[in-house]
Subunit: 154 residues, 2 copies
DNA sequence: CACGAATTCACCCGAAAGTATGAATGAAAA
DNA sequence: TTTTCATTCATACTTTCGGGTGAATTCGTG
């Protein structure tokens, strides 16, 4: 992006201002000839600069961004399950979290998962907790449901 | 809505304009005393009316809205799910228990299910409890897993 | 009507799950 | 080398779940 393109509005504004001042100087000269035209002069200035201000505000005001989430259902055959690696990556799921999710889907308790993975109960709690925030859910059952929708578990 | 309230902005603008004109008349008088102050005079006018224009535009213009559609893909099994009525009958599941099982599969809490079914939390506890013994499981997650295996829930 | 099944709800109590916070370690990336 | 991140574990606390028990009500069927 060039300097001109980046500062286009500012430059245009400066040019407009210069032009307006030139116009006013001209009008000022006319004042010497046509007396008692001060009101017209003031009116012209008011009009020009009000317009300029309006134009400037409309050009520079940032649009309000509205985010709309559209949920699109993709139908996949249920028999041949394929792990949705893109989703896992997008959500930033770690290996252990994915493992935990699989056990959750099997209906195991935290203690049972801890025993199967040879770690402590607290570790599983940490994993589930992180998993829940990444999947944006509050319960293990909801995590399984969401995980299934996203193709993360069978 | 009163006339004043309806045209508040216009009236305020008119008052502001009047005030500005008065100010300028005052400045015009000062011009007779302080010579060569025309540039300051013009600058003041430009500043005032540009500001006025900006303020007016921001007040009156409807906010620009920019829509960003985020498409979230959700995978759902393609095969048409058929409820395994034989299994339900064999296990002696009641209507309410099956309803509860569906909500369990969606990851809802007992309280949320209670709200959806317009009954108390205790009632849902009874249903889940009976459901668990009929499915021979000890946890809601296991109930969902078993229910899916038996074709009772999607 | 009487009977049983289903549904509803309540109370108590312990177990499990979940939250919040902090921290140590080791491996990979910058 | 410093930083980042995954993994591990801990303590303390709150919430939810599940088991056990009892009971009132509704509703269809014999």
């Amino acid at each position: 992006m060039t300097f001109f393109a980046r500062h286009k509005l500012i430059i245009l504004y400066a040019l407009g201002l210069g032009l307006a001042l030139f116009l006013m100087k001209f009008l000022e000269y006319r004042l010497l000839v046509i007396d008692h035209a001060m009101e017209i002069y003031i009116g012209a200035i008011a009009l020009i600069f009000t317009s300029l201000g309006i134009w400037l505000a409309l050009k520079l005001s940032k649009p309000k961004v509205e985010r709309i989430e559209v949920i699109k259902e993709i139908r996949v055959p249920a028999e041949n399950f394929v792990f949705n690696e893109k989703e896992a990556e997008r959500l930033g799921l770690s290996k252990r979290e994915i493992e935990v999710l699989e056990f959750l889907a099997q209906g195991l308790s935290n203690q049972e998962i801890a025993d199967k993975m040879f770690v402590s109960l607290n570790t599983i709690k940490t994993h589930t907790s992180n998993l829940f925030s990444k999947l944006d859910v509050k319960r293990r059952t909801a995590a399984v449901d969401e995980g299934r929708k996203l193709g993360l578990v069978r």
